[in-house]
Subunit: 292 residues, 3 copies
């Protein structure tokens, strides 16, 4: 079962805030598909449990696009929400029953017969790895989810879940950007490179802080990005995307914007082949000190 | 060689302070055996090197109970003590000679022919893993100790010692409680779940702080425990024990009390099957912030 | 292909500052060879890229000593230097091309046909492990470098590079001394003991701070060293060296002095077999608190 994601994915995290009707969202989806973005990143909880259905409406409207895309969704967090009044505290649930039930619900919401890539949303300190793995095995067997991964897992958490599976986890979706380099230092990215697991990077522009925030780190990094952007004849979002895309671990970059112009601008990062020295200029600006 | 511990163990750490004569201690031991507590946790150094002998007196008094119990003891710490005037600084000794000699001494003190489970008490930065492993292999061969484990080891320390052994380490006795969640975050508990090693939890009520201390964390956790305890019709010690007992890593909980009523109260934790949501209520109270 | 280093290595880090002419440096090399120091630690960048050539002059002057020694050198850092005006920021380069090119340059500078042990100088957050491994494999095949290792790598970084090699990395040269015990705590030294990789210790006297600095830690440690030195009838540098040499991980200690008297003094550490208790006296003085 071959499996590929596009180097850039569209994140539906804020799809509700975009305030698009189904036609408008379909139009966006068609446009990004044309640009080569074929991977769409959802989660059951996005938009207070409503974003998946928005995307599902698009698929109901235009069923033929389903084959051209990979749908990613996540499970394992229980939010306080009027939709689930029984939940009285935000918590995690990676039990077999909850994982399977969530996926079945996601399938309905998304109007699809299968999830391409299902992720555990957050590491759960109460995870029974045997149980979670059983859910994965069952979902794989039934065809309800084709591939599996995790999000925000440290190596020891990844390794625990992997130890109970008879197939490899495909991704670890982590927070990484020119402003957030923790996982480059704490072993997570080295581990993923060693195990040949493709990471996905969420919040690749640090939730916009890269563009407007004026703290020391943001200013330092932005200045360096502007300097580099000139050289490559691009915008700083493209350089920031390239900074992730050229890394040898082979990040998939999840863009959270619903504006096609912003998406196109960031996608230019694919054409920039940031030099090693430029990569370290950004690294050094982000850290605020020279490498040792 | 089958090997099981009871889910609750009795810790003899403070046995000297209990001020029981042999008959009284035998009575306690008989009572807890009747409750299903069959594992007794000692260490050479407990009570300034005197606790093992107190327990040994019980076995001399009533040899027939030996078969009904598992004796755990530890080695590897050298205390400053009038009993060992040659020692001028507290330090660790995991050398072959010291480990074997300590066990032989423990056998005498405990009035037994074998230790069920021997632990290295603390990770030793000067450990020669080959030597320590040799001691274990020799003790196993001679039958002086049947099973082996460690205490307070991080995964890399566990992995080092395990790498030199031709049998699996059976436990890692770590500090864990509703007030001490470090090992849930630092990879230790995930590692033990992955390797299917049963941890033992020492200080499961945080040395009593859970009951009397009035710092922010203690108050937050205690309030949540009281709230949950009502629902399960139990005391907060039972809920705190349950919080460990229901965790998928399968903790053995080491109780340090010599009062049968306190022990009985905590043992009710075995009958409480704390819900996942309640587990996270305690977790969140302990951390002071919602899960991310 | 057998491979051994001497327990004490001579570091050429400050060879330029020694201000020796070739005859003087040759004299030093001959003297240390006679003492049993056969391993010489270089790096391309030492002395603003000039130290290797100083050592190479010695080998040109006296080719016959080449067979009696092991030459270690390092690559992977690009300094800002007038010699490489194209480099505009200090950064790392572990690309295949740079590694191979650096070694070829080192061979010329060092006047030798092979490097005994080539190290990656610093962990590179932009390392493509496949590429770096390819460089190593090619250098090994061509005979330009015989053995390979790293420096300042954490276990996850070591493990990543090792995973791509079909031979074992021989060393990890790390900063370790009676004043710098980080790697004893963070898993690095345990990992190296587990994998049976010999570490080299750089800055074994903390860059001289051990002798002259009057901060709390330095004073505490120095006092303990003086006390111990008396007992062993040695100087404190010998005790500090012994503290590393007796550790079960089997450190190679890299001395950075160009003065034969200092080298001889430190080498006496080989004859001191520091007791376990004395080892912990130093450990405790370094930490400032008793072991737990």
């Amino acid at each position: 079962m071959e499996f590929t994601l596009s180097r850039i994915a569209l994140g539906l995290w804020r799809a509700k805030e975009w305030n698009y009707n189904t036609q408008q969202l379909l139009s966006l989806v068609n446009q990004v598909l044309e640009l080569g973005i074929t991977s769409f990143d959802n989660a059951d909880i996005y938009g207070d449990y409503e974003c998946e259905a928005l995307f599902g409406n698009v698929l109901r409207e235009s069923p033929s696009i389903r084959d051209k895309m990979q749908i990613i969704t996540k499970c394992g967090i229980k939010l306080i929400s009027q939709k689930f009044p029984a939940t009285t505290i935000k918590h995690y649930d990676t039990s077999k029953q909850h994982v399977i039930q969530t996926v079945e619900n996601s399938l309905k919401n998304l109007n699809t017969e299968y999830i391409d890539l299902l992720l555990i949303h957050r590491p759960d300190p109460f995870m029974n790895a045997d149980e979670t793995a059983e859910a994965f095995h069952e979902l794989k067997k039934s065809g309800k989810a084709l591939h599996f991964g995790v999000s925000n897992f440290f190596p020891h958490q990844f390794s625990l879940l992997q130890s109970r599976l008879d197939f490899p986890l495909k991704t670890n979706q982590i927070k990484a950007s020119v402003l957030c380099t923790d996982h480059f230092d704490n072993g997570t990215i080295d581990y993923l490179q060693e195990k040949k697991v493709l990471p996905m990077a969420w919040s690749p522009f640090a939730g916009g802080r890269l563009f407007y925030e004026n703290n020391e780190q943001e200013v330092r990094v932005r200045n360096v990005l502007f300097e580099i952007a000139k050289k490559y004849n691009a915008e700083i979002d493209a350089v920031a995307a390239s900074w992730l895309l050229v890394h040898p671990v082979n990040f998939i970059v999840v863009l959270g914007s619903g504006k096609i112009e912003r998406i196109k601008s960031a996608m230019k990062g694919l054409d920039i082949h940031l030099s090693r020295e430029d990569w370290f200029k950004v690294w050094t600006a982000s850290k605020g000190i020279d490498v040792p």
